[in-house]
């Protein structure tokens, strides 16, 4: 695990304070979306399908700070849209850092290199760069040739200037695990702090609704990717969440763990689903019918979800609040997850020609699921 001790301590003490106060439901990270406008036009993106007058709207810095104070989280992720298109993003980030919040500033990095001089390196600030695998995979996924090279330039410059940087990858059906593993090698060679990854989610508003993996297929893919790890790989995620993706742990969703706040208000019930909006964080927590969401609810909209915003909070709470979870976290930090069967599957996984449509090729490939 690559997360600095000070951050781990901050989150652990926050979780324990909530437990001691008897708070039943509390968030660990706020997904703060200051705007939906983006400078990419990724096919299938479910986050930016709005009319122009909505895309032009933005949260003010004051609205961002008020939301963070209202929910009291120790960590804030700033996704979007592309946050670097917000004219006051530096003020927003500086304000959050001044409040000692651990900020994950998500970006596709198209503007990162030329904007870096406006930011100040801090243990509280991480650039989380959207990078969906190796060059051809990423460029296909974001529908822009050359996007990978620009992002890598931004990452290298950020690392050089002393910023914390984590590449953030989403994987869809047809992903080649061998290529993902090569991507990990490339990222660690560039000098990033750790890798962040997640399976894709079928956003309700996304144009494309057909290339999302079900849970069985997610486990196969991530078992192939994450077993037999190289010691050089570091992940900026809970080891228990990665074990969940591999099928080693069963977790239920914590939909209130990563609430989303944007120009519409507090999104019900979570960052991924848009089932309405609340006017305040309190209203969100008190009026959302939580029992209707998560894998255990049977809600079809939650059926394929194994995404970090719902399941990593569960893993984090397990790791900090139970002895078995804590021990699992310690073991997971140092384990390479050796697994002969997974290695065999990895070696037998279909290889793709360089010019093939990497994100969707071989989507009918069926491999045996195993926990061996």
């Amino acid at each position: 695990m690559a997360i600095p001790i000070s951050q781990v301590w901050t989150v652990a003490s926050y979780v324990w304070k909530q437990k001691l106060k008897g708070v039943k439901r509390y968030p660990t990270v706020l997904m703060l979306e200051p705007l939906f406008r983006c400078n990419l036009a990724c096919a299938g993106c479910g986050k930016v399908q709005y009319p122009p007058h909505v895309l032009k709207r933005m949260l003010s810095p004051e609205e961002c700070f008020a939301a963070v104070e209202e929910c009291g989280v120790p960590m804030v992720a700033i996704p979007g849209g592309e946050p670097l298109l917000h004219p006051q993003i530096v003020e927003i980030v500086n304000g959050l850092v001044a409040r000692k919040k651990y900020v994950y500033m998500c970006t596709n990095a198209l503007e990162l290199k030329k904007r870096l001089h406006e930011f100040t390196p801090s243990k509280y600030l991480t650039f989380s760069v959207h990078l969906d695998g190796q060059r051809e995979h990423h460029d296909y996924a974001v529908c822009r040739e050359g996007g990978y090279d620009i992002a890598i330039e931004g990452i290298k410059e950020a690392v050089k200037r002393g910023f914390r940087v984590t590449p953030n990858s989403t994987f869809f059906d047809g992903t080649d695990p061998n290529s993902v593993r090569a991507h990990f090698d490339e990222m660690m060679a560039v000098g990033v702090e750790g890798i962040v990854l997640s399976p894709g989610y079928s956003y309700d508003k996304a144009p494309d609704q057909t290339h999302f993996m079900g849970r069985a297929r997610v486990r196969k893919l991530f078992r192939a990717i994450l077993s037999n790890r190289k010691k050089s790989w570091k992940f900026n995620m809970s080891p228990l969440f990665l074990e969940f993706l591999m099928g080693d742990r069963n977790y239920d969703c914590t939909p209130w763990g990563s609430p989303a706040y944007n120009i519409f208000g507090w999104q019900k019930p979570c960052y991924l689903l848009q089932d309405g909006y609340a006017g305040s964080f309190k209203e969100l927590m008190e009026t959302t019918k939580w029992e209707e969401y998560g894998v255990g609810s049977g809600n079809p909209k939650c059926a394929n979800c194994m995404v970090s915003c719902g399941y990593e909070p569960t893993a984090v709470l397990d790791g900090f609040l139970s002895l078995s979870g804590f021990w699992g976290m310690v073991k997971g930090t140092f384990s390479t997850y050796k697994n002969k069967h997974a290695m065999k599957q990895l070696n037998e996984w279909g290889t793709h020609a360089p010019a093939s449509l990497v994100q969707i090729a071989n989507s009918n490939e069926i491999l045996e699921e195993t926990n061996a």
């Binding site: 399908q49 290339h211 208000g265 449509l357």
Partner: protein
């Protein structure tokens, strides 16, 4: 929402190979009949899911072009409302279901024609034509 809950068992969910996505209706240009309370509720639920602007005509005769981002259902139409943004006003606004006489899905569906296959087809055609730096660009904001 509640009607959809418990559609899957945990075992069924865990065994899913491919996730069934949402099937979006082609609503652009549609003018639903609002004869009954249920008609109004169903139409406004679709308007909430719609990825473009709609035009609301109120019983007062006022017309509102709006992006509906929230609906708050209540026991009666008078207790229920939609929240929306208009292109010209900065603040969130709301209107009661009971005040709405007509609904038209007048704006462009912002997700239509943006499937993965559309990108793949365009990419292959441009690549075959020898184009470089192939990319999709975001829609203009004006």
């Amino acid at each position: 929402m509640s009607a959809e809950v418990l559609k899957y068992t945990r075992e069924q969910v865990e065994a899913l190979e491919i996730a069934p996505g949402t099937v979006h209706e082609n609503l652009e240009g549609w003018i639903p009949e609002l004869a009954s309370d249920e008609d109004v509720r169903q139409a406004l639920e679709k308007a909430f899911d719609y990825r473009g602007d709609v035009t609301l005509t109120l019983k007062s005769g006022q017309k509102i072009e709006a992006y509906i981002f929230n609906r708050i259902p209540g026991a009666t139409l008078a207790d229920s409302c939609v929240q929306y943004f208009t292109p010209s006003a900065p603040e969130k606004r709301k209107v009661s279901y009971a005040d709405i006489a007509r609904l038209e899905f007048s704006g462009k569906d912002r997700a239509a024609g943006k499937h993965w296959e559309d990108w793949v087809k365009a990419y292959n055609e441009k690549k075959a034509a020898g184009e470089k730096n192939i990319a999709l660009v975001p829609d203009a904001l004006e």
